[in-house]
């Protein structure tokens, strides 16, 4: 579904991502792990088009993404969450999800005026479902800035889902969470998988990555040093040395 071929992104002399090959298949959950500064977030940013590539190519559903702006990539079905939460703090929880309804299906189902000026039934039902899924139903009229940290993380995931993505890029969704919140997040990711979502999970928290992914790629200094199932990665000597630690 998503294919990175020799993708490189350099910032001056810094090779944040340097010749990365990675494939994510439909309905697969792929983990992307590695030490701080190994290029994980940069990889997400080039896939969503926030930075142009230095070299290489990214293909999504057979289409080369070169030159497509971020909002166009979203319409192809690529949504993301941010490592440092980026909500619309002065909008309510409900409005945060409303703003995100930009999928081609939304455009097709509702006419221009209904989409921009109305808040119709279909819109409300969809948002209600997302709020239910995220456990935010009771908070729908609260300003996003007033939510607790855990709630903000949940709203960010819900906002990405409101765009009806085919591929979801989660950039350290468990950062700063306690183990109970991580368990809830794992349940949500499992539920999404059962609905057929494809996910690229960038994460530091091993209990999450090892528990939900089908396959893991390990980055170090912008390059892939290993790839395999969670069990393979846990026992890979190179990965242990570079990242996981231990003998």
């Amino acid at each position: 579904m998503l294919e990175l071929r020799g993708v490189a992104r350099h910032f001056g002399g810094v090779r944040a991502v340097d010749g990365l090959d990675l494939e994510v298949n439909e309905r697969e959950i792929v983990g992307l792990i590695g030490p701080n500064g190994s290029g994980k977030s940069t990889a997400v940013n080039v896939v969503t088009g926030l930075f142009p590539l230095t070299s290489g190519e990214i293909v999504f559903k057979g289409r080369n993404l070169e030159g497509l702006p971020t909002h166009k990539r979203l319409q192809l079905g690529i949504a993301r969450t941010f490592q440092n939460i980026r909500l619309f703090g002065q909008l309510t929880v409900w409005q945060n999800l409303w703003v995100a309804q930009n999928s081609p299906q939304d455009r097709a189902q509702r006419g221009f005026f209904a989409r921009w000026l109305g808040g119709q039934r279909g819109v409300r039902d969809e948002i209600a479902q997302l709020l239910e899924f995220s456990g935010l139903a009771a908070r729908q009229d609260e300003l996003a800035a007033n939510l607790s940290f855990g709630e903000q993380r949940r709203l960010e995931l819900a906002r990405a889902l409101a765009t009806r993505p085919r591929l979801l890029l989660l950039d350290e969704p468990a950062a700063g969470m306690n183990s109970e919140e991580i368990a809830q997040l794992r349940d949500r990711i499992v539920k999404l998988r059962s609905r057929g979502m494809t996910i690229l999970l960038v994460e530091h928290v091993m209990e999450l990555v090892m528990g939900v992914t089908d396959r893991i790629a390990v980055l170090n200094f912008g390059q892939k040093i290993a790839e395999g199932t969670p069990a393979q990665i846990q026992n890979d000597p190179v990965v242990k040395k570079a990242y996981l630690g231990g003998a």
Partner: protein, 287 residues
């Protein structure tokens, strides 16, 4: 009574000026070009009623259209830059427009006198209202019909999805892009709507003062345009109206008896208002 009609006219026109900046400010852009769109609307409507003999309503329609087209054209290149750079770019455009009207001569002889804009002398005798026998009360009502219509429209816009999208762009462009918002389309459309409102405001301004000149559209006016929504708060259109009343009716007219002390107090009260309510008089949440 005439005094209060006049004051209501000023408040109405300045509200339109403030609202034209309000919608642009929602997207996080500070435009110093609103006075320029105001000027274009003023000269266009004036020339249409005086030289072409149009009725004022279609003339204001033409002002809105010209303001919108110019704002859209300025918006495309200008919105590629952000923050202070955008302030400087729009300031430059505003001054260019003012200097254009400073040098703009287009006079036509009508009934033995020459009418039309004459450079630094300005554009005199925009007499549609007196010629048609409108009293100040009529003019005031006419202005407020537009103000109320535009406020209602913007209020409704604001509560639609469009309003949330504008605010989302104002808060975090990167996040807005990442949920599929087309930044260019949103910013240029906000600029265009703002240009149309400023154009209408300018057209009305030209007719109630009957005499306009380049200096009516200087940097101070552009500053007022963005100051109203900022002082009033970006929570709703009523903040802008409240700020115009606060500034025009209270600070400028209400304190007139204080003589020279007024200017001193004017600044102090603005600073006080912004310190006590940094989110604006009617704003909610954080600044």
């Amino acid at each position: 009574m005439e005094f209060y009609f006049g004051l209501a006219q000023i408040v109405g026109v300045h509200t339109l000026l403030g609202l034209s900046a309000y919608i642009v400010l929602l997207t996080g852009q500070v435009s110093m070009a609103q006075a320029a769109f105001f000027a274009i609307g003023a000269y266009a409507a004036g020339m249409l009623t005086v030289l072409a003999g149009w009725h004022i309503v279609p003339a204001l329609g033409a002002s809105a259209l010209l303001g919108a087209v110019t704002a859209g054209a300025v918006g495309f290149p200008a919105l590629r830059v952000k923050g202070l750079m955008l302030v400087v770019a729009t300031l430059g455009f505003g001054e260019a427009v003012r200097l254009f009207f400073f040098n703009f001569d287009y006079q036509v002889a009508k009934g033995g006198i020459k009418l039309g804009p004459l450079g630094a002398e300005g554009f005199r005798q925009i007499r549609f209202f007196p010629e048609n026998g409108w009293t100040s009360a009529d003019v005031m009502l006419f202005i407020w019909v537009f103000v109320i219509l535009i406020m209602a429209l913007l209020w409704w816009f604001d509560r639609s999805r469009y309003g949330s999208v504008l605010r989302a762009v104002g808060e975090d462009e990167l996040a807005a892009q990442s949920v599929g918002v087309n930044l260019t389309a949103v910013k240029v459309s906000a600029m265009t709507v703002g240009g149309a409102i400023a154009g209408i405001g300018g057209g009305i301004f030209a007719h109630y003062t009957t005499h306009i000149e380049h200096n009516n559209f200087n940097v101070l006016v552009a500053t007022f345009a963005i100051a109203y929504p900022i002082v009033g708060g970006l929570n709703s259109v009523f903040g802008t109206l409240a700020a115009v009343i606060f500034v025009q009716a209270f600070l400028i007219e209400g304190l007139r008896d204080l003589g020279d002390w007024r200017n001193l107090l004017f600044g102090t009260l603005i600073i006080l208002a912004m310190n006590l309510r940094p989110q604006g008089l009617f704003g909610r949440g954080r600044a």
